[in-house]
Protein backbone atom coordinates (compact mmCIF):
# COMPACT_ATOMS: atom_id res chain seq x y z
CA UNK A 1 0.00 0.00 0.00
CA UNK A 2 1.36 3.44 -0.82
CA UNK A 3 1.65 6.14 1.83
CA UNK A 4 -1.28 8.11 0.47
CA UNK A 5 -3.44 5.00 0.51
CA UNK A 6 -2.36 4.26 4.07
CA UNK A 7 -3.20 7.78 5.15
CA UNK A 8 -6.65 7.60 3.65
CA UNK A 9 -7.62 4.47 5.55
CA UNK A 10 -10.13 5.12 8.28
CA UNK A 11 -8.08 3.71 11.16
CA UNK A 12 -5.18 6.01 10.33
CA UNK A 13 -7.52 8.99 10.05
CA UNK A 14 -9.12 8.21 13.40
CA UNK A 15 -5.66 7.94 14.89
CA UNK A 16 -4.69 11.25 13.31
CA UNK A 17 -7.61 13.15 14.85
CA UNK A 18 -7.15 11.45 18.20
CA UNK A 19 -3.43 12.16 18.54
CA UNK A 20 -4.01 15.75 17.46
CA UNK A 21 -6.50 16.31 20.27
CA UNK A 22 -4.37 14.49 22.83
CA UNK A 23 -1.15 16.24 21.85
CA UNK A 24 -2.67 19.71 22.14
CA UNK A 25 -4.10 19.06 25.61
CA UNK A 26 -1.02 17.21 26.84
CA UNK A 27 1.33 19.86 25.51
CA UNK A 28 -0.58 22.64 27.29
CA UNK A 29 -1.11 20.83 30.59
CA UNK A 30 2.45 19.53 30.39
CA UNK A 31 3.78 23.08 30.47
CA UNK A 32 2.33 23.52 33.94
CA UNK A 33 3.48 20.05 34.99
CA UNK A 34 7.00 21.16 34.16
CA UNK A 35 6.98 24.62 35.76
CA UNK A 36 5.22 23.23 38.86
CA UNK A 37 7.87 20.47 39.01
CA UNK A 38 5.10 17.88 39.20
CA UNK A 39 6.44 15.33 36.74
CA UNK A 40 6.30 12.71 39.47
CA UNK A 41 2.61 13.42 40.04
CA UNK A 42 1.94 13.16 36.31
CA UNK A 43 3.78 9.86 36.23
CA UNK A 44 1.83 8.56 39.24
CA UNK A 45 -1.58 9.50 37.86
CA UNK A 46 -0.90 7.50 34.72
CA UNK A 47 -0.02 4.41 36.73
CA UNK A 48 -2.95 4.90 39.07
CA UNK A 49 -5.09 4.91 35.95
CA UNK A 50 -3.74 1.48 35.13
CA UNK A 51 -5.14 0.14 38.42
CA UNK A 52 -8.48 1.78 37.69
CA UNK A 53 -8.67 0.33 34.23
CA UNK A 54 -7.69 -3.14 35.47
CA UNK A 55 -10.37 -2.90 38.15
CA UNK A 56 -13.00 -1.84 35.62
CA UNK A 57 -12.10 -4.70 33.30
CA UNK A 58 -12.33 -7.17 36.18
CA UNK A 59 -15.78 -5.84 37.12
CA UNK A 60 -16.89 -5.90 33.51
CA UNK A 61 -17.02 -2.14 32.89
CA UNK A 62 -15.32 -0.23 30.11
CA UNK A 63 -11.71 0.52 31.11
CA UNK A 64 -12.32 4.25 30.63
CA UNK A 65 -14.73 4.29 33.57
CA UNK A 66 -12.06 2.91 35.86
CA UNK A 67 -9.50 5.25 34.37
CA UNK A 68 -11.65 8.30 35.03
CA UNK A 69 -12.56 7.29 38.59
CA UNK A 70 -9.04 6.39 39.62
CA UNK A 71 -7.22 9.23 37.85
CA UNK A 72 -9.60 11.89 39.15
CA UNK A 73 -9.48 10.39 42.65
CA UNK A 74 -5.71 10.29 42.67
CA UNK A 75 -5.52 13.79 41.20
CA UNK A 76 -7.72 15.23 43.91
CA UNK A 77 -5.86 13.31 46.63
CA UNK A 78 -2.52 14.61 45.41
CA UNK A 79 -4.00 18.07 44.95
CA UNK A 80 -5.31 18.23 48.51
CA UNK A 81 -2.42 16.48 50.22
CA UNK A 82 0.36 18.12 48.32
CA UNK A 83 -0.92 21.65 47.77
CA UNK A 84 2.40 23.16 48.71
CA UNK A 85 4.76 21.75 46.18
CA UNK A 86 7.28 20.76 48.86
CA UNK A 87 5.08 18.24 50.60
CA UNK A 88 3.77 16.56 47.48
CA UNK A 89 6.47 13.93 46.91
CA UNK A 90 5.46 11.67 49.78
CA UNK A 91 1.74 12.01 49.02
CA UNK A 92 2.34 11.13 45.38
CA UNK A 93 4.56 8.18 46.26
CA UNK A 94 2.07 6.64 48.67
CA UNK A 95 -0.84 7.17 46.26
CA UNK A 96 1.17 5.62 43.45
CA UNK A 97 2.23 2.46 45.27
CA UNK A 98 -1.20 1.91 46.84
CA UNK A 99 -2.82 2.09 43.41
CA UNK A 100 -0.23 -0.12 41.74
CA UNK A 101 -0.84 -2.71 44.44
CA UNK A 102 -4.55 -2.60 43.65
CA UNK A 103 -3.75 -2.95 39.96
CA UNK A 104 -1.76 -6.12 40.63
CA UNK A 105 -4.66 -7.48 42.69
CA UNK A 106 -7.23 -6.70 39.97
CA UNK A 107 -5.15 -8.35 37.27
CA UNK A 108 -4.72 -11.49 39.35
CA UNK A 109 -8.48 -11.57 39.99
CA UNK A 110 -9.28 -11.09 36.31
CA UNK A 111 -8.90 -14.45 34.63
CA UNK A 112 -9.81 -13.33 31.11
CA UNK A 113 -7.65 -12.46 28.16
CA UNK A 114 -4.88 -10.03 29.09
CA UNK A 115 -5.22 -7.99 25.88
CA UNK A 116 -7.23 -5.27 27.62
CA UNK A 117 -4.44 -4.81 30.14
CA UNK A 118 -1.86 -4.75 27.40
CA UNK A 119 -3.64 -1.97 25.52
CA UNK A 120 -3.97 0.06 28.71
CA UNK A 121 -0.25 -0.15 29.24
CA UNK A 122 0.81 0.62 25.69
CA UNK A 123 -2.17 2.33 24.11
CA UNK A 124 -3.99 1.33 20.95
CA UNK A 125 -3.58 4.22 18.59
CA UNK A 126 -4.52 2.29 15.51
CA UNK A 127 -7.61 0.78 17.13
CA UNK A 128 -9.34 4.09 17.78
CA UNK A 129 -13.03 4.30 16.76
CA UNK A 130 -15.05 7.36 15.74
CA UNK A 131 -16.64 7.23 19.16
CA UNK A 132 -13.20 7.37 20.78
CA UNK A 133 -12.23 10.30 18.58
CA UNK A 134 -15.36 12.18 19.65
CA UNK A 135 -14.75 11.55 23.34
CA UNK A 136 -11.05 12.39 23.16
CA UNK A 137 -11.73 15.60 21.24
CA UNK A 138 -14.46 16.67 23.64
CA UNK A 139 -12.34 16.08 26.75
CA UNK A 140 -9.25 17.71 25.24
CA UNK A 141 -11.24 20.74 24.20
CA UNK A 142 -12.74 21.01 27.69
CA UNK A 143 -9.27 20.84 29.24
CA UNK A 144 -7.97 23.55 26.91
CA UNK A 145 -10.93 25.85 27.54
CA UNK A 146 -10.64 25.54 31.33
CA UNK A 147 -6.88 25.90 31.19
CA UNK A 148 -7.06 29.10 29.17
CA UNK A 149 -9.62 30.47 31.63
CA UNK A 150 -7.40 29.82 34.67
CA UNK A 151 -4.11 30.46 32.86
CA UNK A 152 -2.94 33.56 34.72
CA UNK A 153 -3.91 32.55 38.27
CA UNK A 154 -2.47 29.07 37.72
CA UNK A 155 0.78 30.56 36.46
CA UNK A 156 0.89 32.95 39.43
CA UNK A 157 0.30 30.22 42.01
CA UNK A 158 2.81 27.96 40.26
CA UNK A 159 5.71 30.41 40.34
CA UNK A 160 5.00 32.24 43.60
CA UNK A 161 2.40 30.58 45.81
CA UNK A 162 2.94 32.92 48.75
CA UNK A 163 2.47 36.13 46.81
CA UNK A 164 -0.51 34.62 44.99
CA UNK A 165 -2.09 33.69 48.30
CA UNK A 166 -1.57 37.20 49.63
CA UNK A 167 -3.40 38.46 46.56
CA UNK A 168 -6.43 36.32 47.34
CA UNK A 169 -5.78 33.09 45.41
CA UNK A 170 -6.00 29.71 47.12
CA UNK A 171 -2.97 27.55 46.27
CA UNK A 172 -4.86 24.45 47.48
CA UNK A 173 -7.90 25.10 45.30
CA UNK A 174 -5.68 25.85 42.32
CA UNK A 175 -3.67 22.72 42.99
CA UNK A 176 -6.83 20.58 43.03
CA UNK A 177 -8.12 22.22 39.88
CA UNK A 178 -4.84 21.61 38.10
CA UNK A 179 -4.64 17.99 39.22
CA UNK A 180 -8.17 17.50 37.86
CA UNK A 181 -7.09 18.87 34.48
CA UNK A 182 -4.01 16.67 34.60
CA UNK A 183 -6.12 13.62 35.45
CA UNK A 184 -8.54 14.20 32.57
CA UNK A 185 -5.67 14.77 30.16
CA UNK A 186 -4.00 11.58 31.38
CA UNK A 187 -7.18 9.55 30.88
CA UNK A 188 -7.45 10.89 27.36
CA UNK A 189 -3.81 10.29 26.55
CA UNK A 190 -3.81 6.76 27.98
CA UNK A 191 -6.33 5.79 25.30
CA UNK A 192 -3.78 6.69 22.69
CA UNK A 193 -0.25 6.16 23.97
CA UNK A 194 -0.92 4.00 27.03
CA UNK A 195 -0.03 4.33 30.69
CA UNK A 196 3.67 3.82 30.22
CA UNK A 197 4.07 6.53 27.61
CA UNK A 198 1.63 9.22 28.75
CA UNK A 199 4.61 10.82 30.25
CA UNK A 200 6.29 11.39 26.91
CA UNK A 201 3.60 13.78 25.68
CA UNK A 202 3.09 15.42 29.07
CA UNK A 203 6.66 16.16 30.01
CA UNK A 204 9.19 16.03 27.18
CA UNK A 205 7.65 18.69 24.84
CA UNK A 206 7.05 21.10 27.73
CA UNK A 207 10.51 20.56 29.16
CA UNK A 208 12.00 21.25 25.74
CA UNK A 209 9.88 24.39 25.35
CA UNK A 210 10.91 25.69 28.77
CA UNK A 211 14.55 25.44 27.78
CA UNK A 212 13.94 27.26 24.51
CA UNK A 213 12.10 30.37 25.75
CA UNK A 214 11.49 32.22 28.98
CA UNK A 215 8.18 33.76 27.89
CA UNK A 216 5.35 31.72 29.41
CA UNK A 217 2.86 32.04 26.55
CA UNK A 218 5.51 31.29 23.96
CA UNK A 219 6.65 28.26 25.94
CA UNK A 220 3.07 27.04 26.24
CA UNK A 221 2.54 27.36 22.48
CA UNK A 222 5.88 25.76 21.72
CA UNK A 223 5.09 22.88 24.04
CA UNK A 224 1.81 22.25 22.23
CA UNK A 225 3.59 22.53 18.89
CA UNK A 226 6.31 20.04 19.84
CA UNK A 227 3.74 17.60 21.22
CA UNK A 228 1.81 17.88 17.97
CA UNK A 229 4.98 17.40 15.94
CA UNK A 230 5.93 14.28 17.91
CA UNK A 231 2.41 12.87 17.61
CA UNK A 232 1.96 13.54 13.88
CA UNK A 233 5.40 12.46 12.74
CA UNK A 234 5.30 9.50 15.13
CA UNK A 235 2.02 8.35 13.67
CA UNK A 236 3.32 8.80 10.14
CA UNK A 237 6.50 6.82 10.84
CA UNK A 238 4.51 4.13 12.62
CA UNK A 239 2.20 3.43 9.71
CA UNK A 240 4.82 3.99 7.01
CA UNK A 241 8.07 2.58 8.37
CA UNK A 242 6.46 0.23 10.86
CA UNK A 243 7.01 -0.35 14.57
CA UNK A 244 4.71 0.77 17.38
CA UNK A 245 3.41 4.33 16.98
CA UNK A 246 3.88 4.85 20.74
CA UNK A 247 7.57 4.14 20.29
CA UNK A 248 7.94 6.75 17.55
CA UNK A 249 6.03 9.39 19.48
CA UNK A 250 8.10 8.78 22.59
CA UNK A 251 11.35 8.78 20.68
CA UNK A 252 10.52 12.05 18.90
CA UNK A 253 9.47 13.73 22.13
CA UNK A 254 12.66 12.65 23.85
CA UNK A 255 14.80 13.72 20.90
CA UNK A 256 13.16 17.16 20.79
CA UNK A 257 14.01 17.61 24.48
CA UNK A 258 17.58 16.47 23.88
CA UNK A 259 17.99 18.87 20.94
CA UNK A 260 16.53 21.74 22.97
CA UNK A 261 18.95 21.07 25.81
CA UNK A 262 21.92 20.88 23.47
CA UNK A 263 20.87 24.10 21.73
CA UNK A 264 20.24 25.69 25.12
CA UNK A 265 23.75 24.81 26.28
CA UNK A 266 25.20 26.18 23.05
CA UNK A 267 23.24 29.44 23.40
CA UNK A 268 24.26 29.86 27.04
CA UNK A 269 27.91 29.31 26.15
CA UNK A 270 27.61 31.83 23.34
CA UNK A 271 26.07 34.51 25.55
CA UNK A 272 28.63 33.87 28.29
CA UNK A 273 31.36 34.35 25.77
CA UNK A 274 29.86 37.56 24.43
CA UNK A 275 29.45 38.92 27.97
CA UNK A 276 33.00 38.10 28.94
Amino acid sequence: MSLSELLSTSFVQHAFYAVTAVALAAGAVGYFVVIRRQAFAAHAIGHVGFAGAAGAVWLGFSPIVGLLVFCLGAGLLIGVGGATLDESDAVVGVTLTAALGLGVLFISLYSGYANATYSILFGQILGVTWGDVGLVTLLSAAVLVVLSFVYRPLLFVSVDAQAAQARGLSPRAMSMLFMTLLAVTTVVAIQIVGVLLVFSLLVAPAAAAEVMTSRPLAALGLSMGLALFSAWVGLLLGVWVGGPVSFWITALAAVSYLVARLLGVAVTRQSHRSHA
Binding site: I35, R152, S158, A163, P216
Partner: protein, 291 residues
Protein backbone atom coordinates in the same frame (compact mmCIF):
# COMPACT_ATOMS: atom_id res chain seq x y z
CA UNK B 1 -4.75 58.95 59.42
CA UNK B 2 -2.51 56.01 60.17
CA UNK B 3 -2.17 53.41 57.45
CA UNK B 4 -2.43 50.68 60.05
CA UNK B 5 -3.38 50.57 63.69
CA UNK B 6 -2.94 47.52 65.93
CA UNK B 7 -4.46 47.63 69.40
CA UNK B 8 -3.78 44.88 71.90
CA UNK B 9 -3.36 42.38 69.07
CA UNK B 10 -2.63 38.74 69.86
CA UNK B 11 -2.39 35.52 67.87
CA UNK B 12 -2.66 31.92 69.04
CA UNK B 13 -1.70 29.17 66.58
CA UNK B 14 -2.42 25.54 67.40
CA UNK B 15 -2.98 26.41 71.04
CA UNK B 16 0.39 28.13 71.28
CA UNK B 17 0.44 31.88 71.83
CA UNK B 18 2.64 33.53 69.20
CA UNK B 19 2.55 37.10 70.51
CA UNK B 20 0.07 39.25 72.43
CA UNK B 21 -0.65 42.83 73.45
CA UNK B 22 0.81 44.24 70.26
CA UNK B 23 0.23 48.00 70.03
CA UNK B 24 1.58 50.02 67.16
CA UNK B 25 0.72 52.24 64.22
CA UNK B 26 2.20 52.57 60.77
CA UNK B 27 2.26 56.05 59.25
CA UNK B 28 2.44 56.90 55.53
CA UNK B 29 5.94 57.43 54.18
CA UNK B 30 7.68 55.68 57.05
CA UNK B 31 9.76 52.51 57.21
CA UNK B 32 9.27 50.03 60.02
CA UNK B 33 11.73 47.20 60.68
CA UNK B 34 10.32 44.04 62.24
CA UNK B 35 13.04 42.24 64.17
CA UNK B 36 13.26 39.30 66.52
CA UNK B 37 14.30 35.67 66.75
CA UNK B 38 13.30 33.05 64.19
CA UNK B 39 9.93 31.61 65.07
CA UNK B 40 8.95 34.65 67.14
CA UNK B 41 6.08 35.45 64.80
CA UNK B 42 7.38 38.04 62.35
CA UNK B 43 5.92 36.33 59.32
CA UNK B 44 2.77 35.65 61.34
CA UNK B 45 2.41 39.39 61.78
CA UNK B 46 2.56 39.87 58.02
CA UNK B 47 -0.05 37.15 57.51
CA UNK B 48 -2.37 38.88 59.97
CA UNK B 49 -1.95 42.20 58.17
CA UNK B 50 -2.63 40.47 54.83
CA UNK B 51 -5.85 39.05 56.23
CA UNK B 52 -4.64 35.46 55.89
CA UNK B 53 -4.78 34.84 59.65
CA UNK B 54 -7.28 36.25 62.13
CA UNK B 55 -6.32 37.98 65.36
CA UNK B 56 -7.35 36.09 68.50
CA UNK B 57 -7.35 39.22 70.61
CA UNK B 58 -7.38 42.96 70.09
CA UNK B 59 -8.12 44.84 66.91
CA UNK B 60 -6.38 45.65 63.66
CA UNK B 61 -7.38 48.39 61.23
CA UNK B 62 -5.75 48.66 57.80
CA UNK B 63 -6.75 51.87 56.04
CA UNK B 64 -9.44 52.18 58.70
CA UNK B 65 -11.00 48.79 57.96
CA UNK B 66 -10.58 45.18 58.95
CA UNK B 67 -7.78 43.57 56.89
CA UNK B 68 -9.01 42.40 53.50
CA UNK B 69 -7.43 39.41 51.87
CA UNK B 70 -6.20 40.14 48.36
CA UNK B 71 -6.38 43.92 48.72
CA UNK B 72 -4.54 45.86 46.03
CA UNK B 73 -3.73 48.55 48.58
CA UNK B 74 -1.33 46.17 50.33
CA UNK B 75 1.80 45.11 48.47
CA UNK B 76 3.60 41.98 49.61
CA UNK B 77 6.98 40.53 48.78
CA UNK B 78 7.32 36.94 49.99
CA UNK B 79 10.48 35.66 51.57
CA UNK B 80 11.64 32.75 49.48
CA UNK B 81 10.58 32.60 45.91
CA UNK B 82 12.01 29.45 44.42
CA UNK B 83 14.31 30.72 41.69
CA UNK B 84 14.08 27.55 39.65
CA UNK B 85 10.29 27.69 39.31
CA UNK B 86 10.65 31.29 38.23
CA UNK B 87 13.16 30.46 35.56
CA UNK B 88 10.14 29.93 33.33
CA UNK B 89 9.59 33.65 32.93
CA UNK B 90 11.16 37.06 32.49
CA UNK B 91 11.03 39.83 35.06
CA UNK B 92 8.42 41.64 32.99
CA UNK B 93 6.18 38.56 33.02
CA UNK B 94 6.52 38.25 36.77
CA UNK B 95 5.68 41.90 37.37
CA UNK B 96 2.74 41.44 35.00
CA UNK B 97 1.45 38.69 37.29
CA UNK B 98 1.39 41.27 40.07
CA UNK B 99 -1.02 43.23 37.89
CA UNK B 100 -3.44 40.60 36.58
CA UNK B 101 -2.17 37.30 38.02
CA UNK B 102 -5.14 36.90 40.37
CA UNK B 103 -7.68 37.50 37.60
CA UNK B 104 -9.47 34.58 35.92
CA UNK B 105 -10.78 34.80 32.39
CA UNK B 106 -9.70 35.62 28.88
CA UNK B 107 -9.78 39.40 28.68
CA UNK B 108 -6.70 41.57 28.49
CA UNK B 109 -6.33 44.83 30.36
CA UNK B 110 -4.88 47.56 28.16
CA UNK B 111 -3.49 49.42 31.16
CA UNK B 112 -1.19 46.50 31.99
CA UNK B 113 1.64 47.42 29.67
CA UNK B 114 2.05 50.96 31.06
CA UNK B 115 1.54 49.99 34.70
CA UNK B 116 4.18 47.26 34.46
CA UNK B 117 6.59 49.61 32.67
CA UNK B 118 6.22 52.21 35.40
CA UNK B 119 6.77 49.66 38.17
CA UNK B 120 9.91 48.43 36.43
CA UNK B 121 11.15 52.01 36.03
CA UNK B 122 10.44 52.84 39.69
CA UNK B 123 12.66 49.98 40.85
CA UNK B 124 15.38 50.50 38.23
CA UNK B 125 14.68 47.14 36.62
CA UNK B 126 13.95 48.19 33.05
CA UNK B 127 17.33 47.22 31.60
CA UNK B 128 17.09 43.56 32.65
CA UNK B 129 13.31 43.16 32.65
CA UNK B 130 13.29 40.99 29.55
CA UNK B 131 15.84 38.46 30.75
CA UNK B 132 14.87 35.16 32.36
CA UNK B 133 14.61 35.58 36.12
CA UNK B 134 16.94 32.65 36.66
CA UNK B 135 19.72 34.48 34.84
CA UNK B 136 19.56 37.56 37.13
CA UNK B 137 21.70 38.32 40.16
CA UNK B 138 20.13 38.23 43.62
CA UNK B 139 19.92 42.02 43.77
CA UNK B 140 18.35 42.29 40.33
CA UNK B 141 15.80 39.64 41.27
CA UNK B 142 14.86 41.58 44.40
CA UNK B 143 14.35 44.70 42.27
CA UNK B 144 11.96 42.76 40.06
CA UNK B 145 10.20 41.36 43.13
CA UNK B 146 9.81 44.87 44.50
CA UNK B 147 8.36 46.03 41.18
CA UNK B 148 5.92 43.12 41.41
CA UNK B 149 4.87 44.14 44.92
CA UNK B 150 4.48 47.83 44.06
CA UNK B 151 2.67 47.47 40.75
CA UNK B 152 -0.52 49.02 42.17
CA UNK B 153 1.41 51.68 44.15
CA UNK B 154 0.14 50.20 47.44
CA UNK B 155 -0.22 52.43 50.48
CA UNK B 156 1.16 49.64 52.62
CA UNK B 157 4.14 47.58 51.50
CA UNK B 158 5.16 44.41 53.35
CA UNK B 159 8.62 43.00 52.62
CA UNK B 160 9.54 39.65 54.17
CA UNK B 161 13.34 39.35 54.55
CA UNK B 162 14.18 41.32 51.39
CA UNK B 163 17.88 41.29 52.31
CA UNK B 164 18.22 37.56 52.96
CA UNK B 165 20.76 35.78 50.78
CA UNK B 166 22.20 39.01 49.33
CA UNK B 167 25.84 40.02 49.56
CA UNK B 168 26.70 43.28 51.33
CA UNK B 169 26.82 45.41 48.18
CA UNK B 170 23.45 44.11 46.99
CA UNK B 171 22.01 44.64 50.49
CA UNK B 172 23.03 48.30 50.43
CA UNK B 173 21.54 48.67 46.96
CA UNK B 174 18.20 47.20 48.01
CA UNK B 175 18.10 49.28 51.20
CA UNK B 176 18.51 52.44 49.09
CA UNK B 177 15.80 51.19 46.76
CA UNK B 178 13.37 50.53 49.62
CA UNK B 179 13.98 54.06 50.84
CA UNK B 180 13.40 55.45 47.34
CA UNK B 181 10.16 53.50 46.89
CA UNK B 182 8.94 54.72 50.28
CA UNK B 183 9.73 58.35 49.40
CA UNK B 184 8.26 58.13 45.90
CA UNK B 185 5.05 56.33 46.72
CA UNK B 186 4.47 57.57 50.25
CA UNK B 187 3.71 54.02 51.34
CA UNK B 188 4.08 52.76 54.87
CA UNK B 189 6.81 50.14 54.43
CA UNK B 190 7.30 47.15 56.73
CA UNK B 191 10.59 45.29 56.43
CA UNK B 192 11.05 41.96 58.21
CA UNK B 193 14.75 41.42 58.86
CA UNK B 194 17.06 39.48 61.13
CA UNK B 195 19.68 42.20 61.35
CA UNK B 196 18.93 45.86 61.95
CA UNK B 197 22.33 47.19 60.88
CA UNK B 198 21.94 47.27 57.10
CA UNK B 199 18.57 49.00 57.54
CA UNK B 200 19.43 51.31 60.44
CA UNK B 201 19.92 54.40 58.27
CA UNK B 202 16.43 54.29 56.75
CA UNK B 203 14.31 52.93 59.60
CA UNK B 204 11.79 55.21 61.35
CA UNK B 205 10.29 52.63 63.66
CA UNK B 206 11.23 49.24 65.07
CA UNK B 207 8.94 46.39 66.07
CA UNK B 208 10.88 43.86 68.10
CA UNK B 209 9.11 40.56 68.70
CA UNK B 210 10.46 38.13 71.29
CA UNK B 211 9.08 35.89 73.99
CA UNK B 212 5.50 36.50 72.83
CA UNK B 213 5.81 40.26 73.24
CA UNK B 214 6.03 43.08 70.74
CA UNK B 215 7.95 46.29 71.53
CA UNK B 216 7.56 49.24 69.20
CA UNK B 217 9.17 52.66 68.97
CA UNK B 218 12.07 54.46 67.36
CA UNK B 219 15.37 52.63 66.95
CA UNK B 220 16.75 54.24 70.10
CA UNK B 221 13.60 53.55 72.09
CA UNK B 222 13.63 49.82 71.32
CA UNK B 223 17.19 48.85 70.53
CA UNK B 224 18.68 49.80 73.88
CA UNK B 225 20.02 47.66 76.70
CA UNK B 226 17.13 48.34 79.06
CA UNK B 227 14.28 47.55 76.66
CA UNK B 228 15.90 44.46 75.18
CA UNK B 229 17.02 43.14 78.60
CA UNK B 230 13.47 43.58 79.75
CA UNK B 231 12.10 41.90 76.61
CA UNK B 232 14.46 38.91 76.78
CA UNK B 233 14.37 38.64 80.58
CA UNK B 234 18.13 38.72 81.02
CA UNK B 235 20.91 41.27 80.56
CA UNK B 236 21.59 42.33 77.00
CA UNK B 237 24.59 44.44 76.11
CA UNK B 238 24.81 46.60 73.02
CA UNK B 239 28.20 47.52 71.68
CA UNK B 240 28.39 50.23 69.04
CA UNK B 241 31.36 49.81 66.75
CA UNK B 242 33.39 52.65 65.28
CA UNK B 243 31.35 52.23 62.09
CA UNK B 244 28.15 52.80 64.03
CA UNK B 245 27.03 49.19 63.81
CA UNK B 246 25.17 47.78 66.77
CA UNK B 247 26.44 44.45 68.01
CA UNK B 248 23.91 42.94 70.36
CA UNK B 249 25.54 40.71 72.96
CA UNK B 250 23.64 38.42 75.27
CA UNK B 251 21.07 36.96 72.94
CA UNK B 252 23.17 33.79 73.09
CA UNK B 253 22.55 33.57 76.85
CA UNK B 254 19.55 31.29 76.33
CA UNK B 255 21.63 28.97 74.24
CA UNK B 256 24.38 28.58 76.81
CA UNK B 257 22.05 28.27 79.81
CA UNK B 258 18.64 27.15 78.66
CA UNK B 259 16.77 27.54 81.97
CA UNK B 260 18.53 29.99 84.26
CA UNK B 261 15.96 32.73 84.43
CA UNK B 262 12.84 31.14 85.87
CA UNK B 263 11.04 30.75 82.58
CA UNK B 264 7.30 30.93 82.37
CA UNK B 265 6.62 27.21 82.04
CA UNK B 266 3.10 27.62 80.77
CA UNK B 267 4.70 28.23 77.37
CA UNK B 268 7.00 25.30 77.47
CA UNK B 269 7.18 24.80 73.73
CA UNK B 270 8.80 28.12 73.29
CA UNK B 271 12.06 26.81 74.71
CA UNK B 272 12.94 24.97 71.54
CA UNK B 273 12.42 28.11 69.58
CA UNK B 274 14.31 30.32 71.96
CA UNK B 275 17.26 27.97 71.79
CA UNK B 276 17.24 27.96 68.05
CA UNK B 277 16.95 31.70 68.06
CA UNK B 278 19.84 32.24 70.38
CA UNK B 279 21.90 30.04 68.15
CA UNK B 280 21.12 32.12 65.11
CA UNK B 281 22.04 35.29 66.85
CA UNK B 282 25.22 33.78 68.14
CA UNK B 283 26.25 33.20 64.54
CA UNK B 284 25.22 36.69 63.73
CA UNK B 285 27.26 38.27 66.48
CA UNK B 286 30.21 36.19 65.42
CA UNK B 287 29.76 37.38 61.89
CA UNK B 288 29.49 41.00 62.94
CA UNK B 289 32.64 40.82 65.00
CA UNK B 290 34.70 39.18 62.33
CA UNK B 291 33.71 41.61 59.63
Amino acid sequence: MSVLEMRGGGVVLGGRPIWRDADFRLEPGTITAVLGPNGSGKSTLLKVILGLLPLDAGSLRVFGEAPQRGSRAVGYMAQSRAADAMSAMTGRDYVGLGFDGPRFGWGRDRAKHDVVREALALTGSTSFADQALASLSGGQRQRIALAHATVFRPGLLLLDEPLAALDLAAQAEIVDLINLVCDTTGAAVVVVAHDLNPLASIVDQVLWIARHQVRSGSVDEVVNEKTLSDLYGHPIEIVITSHGRRVIVGLEEEFAHPHPHGHDHSHDHSHDHDDEVAHTHLDEVYEEETR
